[in-house]
């Protein structure tokens, strides 16, 4: 049996398809079919099976998205009245425009809120995690392992179990129903700290830090110039992880927020959906709004997948 994918795996471990546009792959494929013998590639039968299985899986993952795209072009009554997997009297731009302008453009506001919660939250979470992880990895002090273990336990506690008491607590502090109510808990990422510690321990050599100290650099300066730079791959992962986490979080804003001006997008959409029986066009807006909110994230997912690699592995190696 002559197999293997090593061909597709350049020495640095980057998959071939990651590197260039699809055209390149196609060229290669053709060339392959021509003169390079099948010796290094799996037999045709295997490839057909593989691709068929992958295609079936892709159908599964893409069908709902396809449905969403089709449905976003329909009126509310067509949404209920026509076959879901095909177009009927499509007015995509018209409907999207209505989604964006309904209720003085509240949708846009929700979108910006989501972006703010996720962007600011993830950035702050990354910096806090970096500093904490770095400290836990690179300094020896009493109680270090104790702190690390408590933080680790934090990874294992469901965020939603905390949201409820946190809400009661924030209510007492007068923080409920403010941007801060969603932002503050979002910047705490025990998983980020865990990842940063593991990564810093491996990627930031003590000798380098010593050298910098001997050169007279302060600890803060060493961290911000050396530490952060060396930890960049892990930081990107923490940022993305936290960004998606905050973007997708429903329970916390649901519990914390009552003013719809503060809503992130998915809370806004559920409020539309909940109101739709009184105002049927909101079904249409919910679907259109869902598509609009999903598109940028999906593009982001596609573009950024490669960045999920490094850090995640680091985290999992020691898990």
């Amino acid at each position: 049996m002559t197999t293997q994918l090593t061909e597709d795996l350049p020495a640095d471990g980057t998959p071939g398809a990651d590197r260039g546009p699809r055209g390149k792959g196609r060229r290669r494929g053709r060339r392959n079919g021509g003169r390079r013998s099948g010796g290094r590639r799996p037999p045709l039968r295997h490839r057909i099976i593989t691709v068929s299985l992958l295609t079936i899986a892709a159908l599964y993952f893409l069908t709902p998205v396809y449905w969403l795209a089709v449905s976003a072009t329909k009126s509310s009554s067509d949404l209920f009245g026509t076959f879901g997997f095909w177009f009927h009297d499509p007015h995509p731009l018209d409907y999207l425009h209505r989604v964006l302008s309904y209720d003085d453009g509240i949708y846009v506001r929700w979108f910006l809120n989501s972006l703010m919660y996720a962007g600011v939250g993830a950035l702050a979470a990354t910096l806090l995690s970096a500093a904490a992880g770095y400290a836990l990895a690179k300094y020896r002090f009493p109680g270090r392992e104790g702190i690390f273990n408590v933080v680790l336990a934090g990874v294992l506690i469901p965020g939603t179990a905390l949201a409820l008491p946190l809400y009661l607590l924030f209510s007492e502090m007068g923080l409920a129903n403010t941007y801060a109510a969603v932002l503050i808990p979002s910047v705490v990422s025990p998983f980020g700290v865990y990842l940063c510690r593991i990564y810093a321990a491996a990627a930031v050599p003590d000798s380098l830090l010593e050298a910098a100290r001997i050169d007279g650099a302060g600890e803060a300066r060493i961290f911000s110039t050396l530490g952060l730079r060396l930890m960049t791959p892990a930081l990107v992962t923490v940022f993305l992880f936290q960004f998606v986490h905050i973007w997708n979080n429903f329970f916390l804003p649901l519990v914390m927020l009552s003013d719809s001006d503060l809503y992130p997008i998915q809370l806004g959409l559920t409020s539309w959906q909940g109101y739709a029986d009184r105002q049927p066009e909101l079904y249409q807006y919910t679907v259109g709004g869902a598509l609009l909110s999903v598109l940028p994230l999906m593009v982001l997912m596609g573009v950024l997948q490669r960045y999920w690699r490094t850090g995640l592995t680091e985290g999992s190696v020691k898990a």
């Binding site: 294992l156 959409l269 997912m301 898990a319």
Partner: protein, 306 residues
């Protein structure tokens, strides 16, 4: 006793400086709520006066009666049983699915790998609520093209029925997270040095053997990680049943522990029982995840000679 040296003091001070911002917020957002929930869960309300009117409201010590109440409530315990069942079925399936996809992608020719991987990963960018709204449309009879298609081939399927709705929720979760888990696994696979495969290949191992005996053991840590995350995620199930509840006649207000706690706090307006339920949830989550980590940790030590 050795006195701490200047460098030691300096480093402790620096470490404190780096740790403090995180720890402060960690205390506020993790430790304090747990403490507060514990405290709230031990209280109950008493009212005096005729009909509870015109009198006074006091919060009095209740001991563990709220916990007893929560555990006696068959809705709440049924919800726990339900998510455990869910986890026992859905997590292995999803992880197996993700592993299969990761290995298949590794084995596929380069041509479409990028497309497939992106397609599988896309749903991760769809928040649970929106995924549920979306799938909700695909589940509702009369609207869903899936039901319509099934019906046309003589299969009357009810995605929202009593026996099916849990698995319909499982499908939503699987749809969302398989791609993510796959990516974690792929990341781990990529970290395996290519020579290892090469060596195995030269030794005459088949693709299946390489996958089974080399790749799977190597991605074990990633499997553990994804399983633990899935476990935590499962116990928190909330958005999916909450969104599907109005559409189905089979989801009650305590369908998952989280939904029960939420409804207890906001619909029934009883934060003391809600607090007790939240504490129980956190406790079970911790025990299960730690237990699982321990279990695989043990086996890892026994089984691997690394």
């Amino acid at each position: 006793m050795k006195r701490p040296t200047r460098t030691e003091i300096r480093s402790a001070r620096a470490a404190a400086g780096f740790l403090l911002p995180f720890l402060t917020l960690f205390l506020l957002c993790f430790i304090a709520p747990i403490g507060y929930a514990l405290y709230e869960s031990m209280l109950k309300v008493e009212r005096t006066g005729a009909l509870g009117l015109g009198g006074e409201t006091t919060e009095v010590w209740a001991g563990f009666s709220n916990y007893a109440h929560a555990l006696e409530d068959d809705r709440f315990t049924a919800g726990f049983g339900r998510v455990l069942l869910f986890g026992a079925v859905q997590i292995p399936l999803m992880i197996a699915f993700a592993t299969a996809l990761a290995l298949l992608l590794e084995a596929a020719s380069a041509r479409w790998v990028g497309f497939f991987r992106t397609a599988f990963f896309l749903p991760y960018g769809v928040p649970g609520v929106i995924a549920s709204i979306l799938w909700g449309f695909l589940y509702v009879p009369g609207i869903s093209p899936l039901v319509e298609m099934a019906h046309s081939v003589g299969w009357d399927v009810d995605f929202l029925g009593r026996s099916t709705v849990l698995w319909s929720i499982a499908n939503i979760v699987t749809w969302q997270f398989t791609g993510y888990n796959m990516l974690v696994l792929i990341a781990q696979l990529k970290a395996v040095p290519g020579e290892l495969y090469e060596a195995a290949r030269i030794d005459g191992a088949s693709a299946w053997q390489v996958a089974r005996h080399i790749k799977l053991p190597l991605i074990r840590p990633a499997l553990v990680l994804t399983t633990v995350f899935s476990l935590i995620g499962t116990l928190q199930l909330f958005a999916e049943p909450k969104v599907l509840k109005p559409l189905s006649n089979s989801i009650d207000s305590g369908y998952t522990p989280n939904l029960a706690a939420y409804n207890e706090a906001f619909t029934s307006n009883n934060q003391h029982i809600a607090a007790a339920e939240a504490v129980l949830l956190a406790l079970v989550a911790c025990v299960l995840s730690f237990g699982f980590l321990r279990l695989v940790g043990q086996r890892g030590k026994d089984g691997e000679s690394r």
